[in-house]
Amino acid sequence: MTQNNSGGAGRLRGYHSELFALADAPFSLLRELIMEKTGMYFDDAKRGLLADKLSELVAVNGLTSFLDYYYLLRHDENADAHLNALMNRLSVPETYFWRQSEQILAMSEVIAPTHFATKPRAPLRVWSAACCTGEEPVSLAIALAEVGLLDAQPIEIVGTDGSPAMVARARANSFGPRSFRQIPANLKERYFEPDGDRWRPIERIRRAVSYDVANLAVPAEFAGLATADVIFCRNVFIYFADDVIRRVARTFCERMPDDGCVFLGAAESLTRLNVDLELAEIGKAFAYVKAGRRHHIERTNSAILATRTATHVTTGH
């Protein structure tokens, strides 16, 4: 039973739509193009939001209409630069250290030890697929340092984002107070050093993470990264069209190793999208693993953890 109870809420304009009006035709052209290029989908209710966000790009390019901007985005010789500006504009830079920490700890306390126990010489590859300003990959490095694996074992942590501006900020390694709203104070003390009135991760952590730009709407840009053992792809699917999510998830599924896993954000789910990934319980968190692999992965994890706990006990830890 889906009645539209919005009472017209769907037709709201942007806050400053009188600066530039976004009419029906350019709206649908732009939203299709934006979906194709960035994966992000703006439904009718978000039309005003889109107009507000794009108006500055229209103005900066000396244009007076969204339709002209659409043509610019599609046909200009600098279309790539316009696309980057668009990504930067639409990016929602909302992230912080230790966000949904049970997932981060599942990676460091369950997946990583299991990995090194079962594939001793293979490096552990961890990919943060929409890393935003870097808080997520840095948290992953800290968690691995906490369990003593960061320098002891071969580990690669890569953070990528579709927005070049976000990647530049991540590379700058400079974090303000809002980024620390969740991370335990002792970790902040041990893994960060002051940087003016901001904070910078210590050298050991900085060295562990590398960054790049990669657009999840273009499978070729991330197919190589998707072979990682662990994928953190959190709080980005919420902005995507279902078809794009399906495409991304299928690429993950094809490329990731058989016991690889994918962490999504709390509000995100793949269950209704018919992809061959299923939920598995890892540590205190849930992750998507290849369909049919859940039992195997859960069993291996607990077996390895059991032997570890046993040796810890016998060696008096």
Binding site: Q3, N5, L12, Y15, L19, G62, Y71, D76
Partner: protein, 747 residues
């Protein structure tokens, strides 16, 4: 097919299925020698025949005659035996089987069964893997077969797979199949395997997607003795959505099995046949624990208004009230508004669903609804429902609350600006409530959260009360967020109070282009007496952004005193300033102004300045301007050509030179946007005779071009364009289809 090629075996039985003949091939294949077979009942030789339902098939032939064919894709084999080729990947030989009666004078003497070994055909395929024990292997095989659409009939078997994933792939593959026999295979699967719900479901899904006429095949299943089968049939008929099923489904509402009734109700809802409304309303009125609820939902889906008044009585039922309210919102007429609103007087009414229904009624039936509601009831219950409501519910509550002119409603709405999901709606609502809401909204404009402040600023702009200037200026003083700043500036502009003037001038140098644009807009709507002087000062400012803003502002007012400055600005060292000046010079409509615009279009080194000039020429009336525009159509930069083409449309002059220059752009330009602009301009100038090039362009590789051409074809006679538009509708991409639809409606 002959025994000589070594792939066919045959046996015969008497009427009671005792083997009479057994050939050599069978002896080799089954490893049962002739001597051991003859005289033994076939069901004894192969006990699993009974289990697999095949004994019954043979018995039917022996008793009733007729020929039965067992397709290997469904049954795999009749007699279980290993493949003759040891290299086969299959566990069992695949058999194509024909069971025929042996006619005797007095009737049927027995049966003859011909078995053809078709293993090799399956072996070549991934289909062998469909038997694997591993789900992954089966899934991979099904996917591989599904991709070869001409072979996908092989998937029929996988419809019964244990794994829903395999079933899904099989159903999708069959639905997409180009093999003509697939439909028959699926119908056969439904008839024969209806006891397997998973298979039935998958087969029906596949048939539903093929839009094949399947209802006649499913309808008889409604009469089955098996309640599960009747249930599935009802479900399937709903999925198929065939109106011919409505009558039989209405009959099924009286089924002894509640499940059948339940699915028949849902199916009727999907089919949407008004004839069912009466019966469904009766079921709803019965308040049957299982059936009333789906009946109300189905009535909402059917949309038959005549039953709405009967549903009002259900609003006192705590279980049924929410669904009933939603249904009334969807199907009710103005008569239900007052009784629906009156229920809000009772403390245990479900305020959320009722509000949603009233909002939906008002959306459908117009303003009259509000007045009825506001005079029938009070907002108390709605106000108490706000706490803890989800976004969807809140939206309905906000809409209905806004109909009550009450101070408590103002306060409640203002506080809802803290809810992200309805913030924008609430801001709009408060703006429309007018001055009465000012104090509460101003309070929210001091909230700690920038998004709340932004919504409040927006509402204050909408209300337009001068008292709000102070709080908006406060926002400007401490906002670090360009979007909040922009909204506050726009609000100040809407209020139009002179006290904001000086502060707004500061934003002409803001880095963010939207903020500058907003400040320009606000300053021009305030129109302060000191503005002219302020602009002149700013033409000589250090910052190019300020000079740019000055040029734009001067353009708004076309102050004579600014013309000299404007001409200088059009030669500024900074392209940003030149661009603004050239664009704004058109407002002055003076000879020097136009000749400066022309100079810029002809010779500015920066293409964005030339493009701005081309835009400006759209409002010029002088003939030298027209020539300049035509020259711009041949500029080396595509955007200059694009805007020149657009400007030709604004000028509305269809002289020979303009038309032929535009035609040149349409047919020969390399840049898609230029071609689009040329097509649209020629069209708006009413230039005919473009059928040929448009017909070609309708198939252009670039979507923008082909769609512009398709839309332009709307202006040509149907007998010329019909084929092209129909072709686009049938074979074009989604955008071409949309453009063709638009063209057809425009026509």
């Amino acid at each position: 097919m002959s025994a000589a090629d070594g792939t066919v075996g045959r046996f015969t039985t008497d009427r009671s299925l005792v083997v009479q003949t057994w050939d050599e091939w069978l002896a080799a294949a089954t490893r049962i020698p002739e001597s051991a077979a003859i005289g033994v009942a076939i069901g004894t030789l192969f006990p699993d025949l009974a289990e697999r339902g095949l004994l019954a098939r043979m018995r039917r032939v022996a008793e009733k005659g007729g020929v039965e064919v067992l397709a290997p894709v469904l049954h795999k084999y009749l007699l279980p035996c290993p493949p003759l080729d040891p290299a086969s990947r299959l566990e069992r030989m695949r058999q194509h089987v024909v069971i025929a009666p042996i006619d005797d004078e007095g009737g049927i003497a027995g049966i003859t069964v011909t078995i053809e070994d078709v293993t090799a055909r399956f072996d070549r395929h991934a289909s062998a893997d469909l038997d694997s024990h591993s789900e992954t292997t089966r899934l991979r095989a099904a996917t591989a077969i599904a991709e070869r659409t001409e072979e996908s009939a092989l998937l029929a078997n996988a419809l019964a797979d244990d794994s829903w994933r395999v079933r899904r792939v099989a159903a999708e593959g069959l639905a997409a199949s180009t093999d003509g026999t697939v439909v028959d295979t699926l119908l056969q699967a439904i008839r024969e395997h209806h006891q397997n719900p998973a298979l039935l479901n998958a087969a029906i899904t596949a048939l539903g997607r093929k839009r094949h006429d399947v209802a006649p095949a499913i309808l008889p299943l409604l009469q089955s003795d098996d309640a599960d089968v009747r249930t599935y049939a009802a479900l399937a008929l709903g999925l198929v959505g065939d109106p011919r099923a409505a009558r039989p489904l209405i009959a099924a509402l009286d089924d002894v099995d509640t499940n059948v009734g339940y699915h028949a109700i849902e199916a009727l809802g999907r089919i949407g046949d008004g004839e069912a409304a009466n019966t469904l309303a009766r079921i709803a009125e019965s308040r049957d624990f299982f059936l009333a609820f789906p009946a109300v939902d189905a009535l909402a889906a059917i949309g038959e208004a005549s039953v709405a008044p009967r549903l009002l009585a259900l609003l006192d039922d705590p279980f049924l009230a929410p669904a009933t309210a939603a249904c009334l919102g969807g199907i009710g007429t103005i008569d239900v508004v007052a009784p629906l609103a009156a229920t809000l007087q009772s403390a245990d009414a479900p305020a959320g669903p009722i509000a949603a229904a009233l909002a939906a009624l008002s959306e459908r039936l117009g303003k009259g609804v509000r007045e009825i509601v506001a005079t029938t009831t009070t907002p108390d219950l709605l106000l108490s429902a706000v706490d803890g409501a989800d976004d969807e519910t809140l939206r309905g509550l906000v809409v209905v609350l806004s109909w009550f002119p009450s101070g408590r409603v103002d306060i409640a709405l203002a506080s809802l600006m803290q809810e992200a999901g309805v913030r924008r709606l609430v801001a709009d609502t408060l703006a429309r409530r007018g001055v009465r809401a000012t104090p509460v909204v101003e309070e929210m404009a001091r909230h700690a959260d920038a998004e709340v402040r932004r919504a409040a600023a927006f509402a204050l702009g909408g209300i337009g009360s001068p008292t709000s200037v102070k709080v908006l200026l406060d926002i400007l003083a401490d906002s670090a967020d360009a979007e909040l700043t922009t909204t506050a500036i726009v609000a100040l502009g809407a209020i139009g109070d002179a006290r904001a003037f000086t502060r707004l001038l500061d934003f002409l140098d803001c880095e963010d282009a939207t903020v500058r644009q907003a400040a320009i807009g606000a300053l021009s709507s305030i129109a302060h007496p000191d503005l002219e002087d302020a602009i002149m000062d700013r033409f000589v400012d250090q910052s190019p952004r300020v000079r740019e803003s000055a040029a734009r502002l001067a353009g708004y007012f076309a102050f004579d005193s600014c013309l000299t400055f404007m001409l200088a600005a059009a030669r500024d060292e900074d392209a940003l300033v030149r661009r603004a000046a050239v664009e704004s010079l058109s407002a002055f409509d003076a000879d020097e102004a136009w000749s400066m615009v022309c100079t810029a279009v002809r010779s500015d080194a920066d293409a964005t300045v030339r493009a701005a000039g081309a835009r400006a020429l759209g409002v010029a009336t002088r003939s030298e301007c027209r020539d300049m525009l035509l020259a711009a159509l041949r500029d080396s930069n595509l955007w200059v050509r694009y805007f020149a083409a657009r400007s030709c449309a604004r000028r509305e002059e269809a002289d020979v030179d303009t038309v032929s220059a535009l035609l040149e752009c349409f047919v020969r330009d390399r840049a898609a946007p230029v071609r689009v602009a040329a097509i649209e301009t020629l069209n708006s100038l009413g230039v005919g005779n473009l059928f040929e090039p448009l017909a070609v362009a309708a198939n252009d590789a670039d979507d923008d071009v082909s769609c512009a051409a398709l839309r332009a074809l709307a202006h040509y006679p149907p007998h010329d364009t019909g084929r092209i538009l129909r072709n686009a509708l049938e074979h074009g991409g989604p955008r071409q289809q949309q453009a063709a639809r638009e063209a057809l409606t425009l026509r």
